[in-house]
Amino acid sequence: MTDLPPPPAKRLGLVIDLDICVGCHACAVNCKEWNTGGAMAPLTDTNPYGADMSGVWFNRIHSFEVGTDSPGNGGGRTVHFPRSCLHCAEPACVTVCPTGASYKRAEDGIVLVDEDLCIGCKLCSWACPYGAREYDDDVGVMKKCTLCIDRIYNENLEAVERVPACVSTCPVTARHFGDLGDPTSEVSRLVAERGGYDLMPELGFQPTNKYLPPRPHKTAAGCTGAPAALTATLEPSATGLLGWVDKILSR
């Protein structure tokens, strides 16, 4: 049923730290690697070695320029922005589904697609504001992030490995996985401490995943003992050969 279950107590999701993401795309690559053999497999690539290559990915890394150098504009900075399914509390992608293929799990809030029920009408991708769903032309069904449901509960993996592929691979620990329904969890504490926020809150889908804002720029340099300004190495009143060289070079 595409009716939503009662709000689950457990709300598994990601917390993404935009302050330290370096935009290396490793999370996207590992996501593709894992999921092309995972629950939603395959993540088809069409024409992979041709001129118009295209493929299904669950995770895409955008880079944004925020502010400009001019005063009062926040100072220009580059922010790398990973984008994937936010496993919303009010997922319109689920309720618009005419077949029951899309559903939200009552036990942990993960939003999934049953590929055997999907008719490939693509309406769910219209309903998602975040572009989390990508249609697989080859298989004729919609695909999306599963929060690596085949890793996080997988007892064949070591406990430390039971996190989504994107989280396990991030080289700078910019991605955190946990229960956002539990206020005492590590991810919830991170959100509270750093002011984690929702994307496009004006649309009302109440995403589970949270983003941590980049920390403010440092505006003053720390004291290193160096002089505030460098003095000229040559006195302007130099004479003789040095004076002549100075005169030539100063032209």
Binding site: G74, G120, G131, Y135
Partner: protein, 316 residues
């Protein structure tokens, strides 16, 4: 949004078919249409033919058309599912109504009630079609109160043009039908102009700043580097853009062909009657079809989806 041919054909053809069905039932109930079998065959054939063609066209863009029957199951939450249920449910009373009309030459009493039931069901289908679009907050240009009235008026209007033409071809001209047709065209034109005015004057709800949560509400946020070099599904499906000058020109063409020309032609038919009336009314059919198809193409082409805020769009 990408204007998919199958969806444009579905919404315009089935809209006209349902419009025609509604008007047939209403005019028959009012005793303004005689139950001539020949006219019945043509009218129901065209109405149900257009609806069936539209429904078939709508399955062309499915990845798994053979599973389309599954779409009847989620009517509790999905407008697309409701549309499917309502569209199929319309066939039962419509076929009964057509049977009475064509086979028995009956359209009063219980048959009229059956017709009105078909009309209600057709109306519900048109509302569902409009709501599929109007219920999506991700596309602000669809998520407003103008969309459903537009779908209703445009369906009613194109059905009325068909009915006016058919009654004249079968020598059953009715001033009431002609009058209703010009009124419906005028109403649809007002609603379409209102819709365009609304989308032109409404400020975008979402920006790259709200999509990323960056910039603290003051600093500009702009895409520096896209995640990939080639187009992906999202950009092909949601990234369709139309140049403003082309949109303006197409709006003028849609206004002329969809509303102004059929209004003038049906009015002319109403005033002239006879053979010139038949010619004017028949001419209105292809003209209004062209206008409504262009209007529907624009409805998609001018719609902007929030996902493009992650791909360089500045507002959605």
């Amino acid at each position: 949004m990408h204007p998919a041919l199958s969806v444009i054909l579905f919404t315009t053809a089935s809209g006209a078919g349902y419009g025609l069905l509604i008007l047939l039932a209403v005019f028959a109930a009012l005793g303004l249409l005689p139950a001539y079998p020949g006219f019945g065959v043509a009218a129901f054939g065209i109405a149900l033919g257009l609806v069936s063609f539209g429904l078939a066209a709508s399955t062309f863009h499915l990845g798994h058309p053979e599973r389309a029957w599954r779409a009847f199951s989620q009517w509790r939450s999905s407008w697309l599912s409701r549309e499917g249920v309502a569209s199929v449910a319309t066939y039962l009373p419509a076929l009964g109504f057509a049977f009475g009309w064509v086979w028995l030459g009956e359209q009063r009493g219980g048959w009229a009630a059956l017709g009105l039931l078909a009309a209600l069901s057709a109306l519900a289908t048109l509302v569902c079609t409009g709501m599929i679009y109007a219920s999506l907050p991700t596309i602000q240009r669809w998520h407003n109160g103008w969309v459903v009235p537009n779908y209703l008026a445009l369906g009613g209007m194109s059905g009325a043009v068909l009915l006016d033409c058919l009654t004249r071809l079968f020598g059953l001209p009715s001033p009431a039908i002609g009058t209703v047709t010009v009124v419906l065209i005028a109403l649809a034109a007002v609603l379409k102009l209102g819709y365009w005015r609304h989308i032109d004057t409404t400020a975008a709800a979402s920006t790259p700043a709200t999509a990323t949560g960056l910039g603290g509400g003051t600093a500009p946020v702009r895409l520096l580097e896209a995640p990939h070099t080639e187009d992906n599904y999202l950009m092909r499906e949601m990234g369709f853009r139309i140049a403003r000058k082309h949109a303006a020109k197409l709006r003028r063409i849609a206004l002329a062909a969809g509303f102004a020309a059929p209004f003038a032609l049906i009015l002319l038919a109403l005033l002239l009657g006879g053979v010139p009336g038949v010619i004017a009314s028949t001419l209105a059919v292809p003209v209004v079809a062209l206008g409504v198809v262009i209007e529907r193409w624009l409805f998609f082409a001018e719609a902007r989806h929030t996902v493009m805020l992650y791909y360089g769009a500045t507002a959605a």
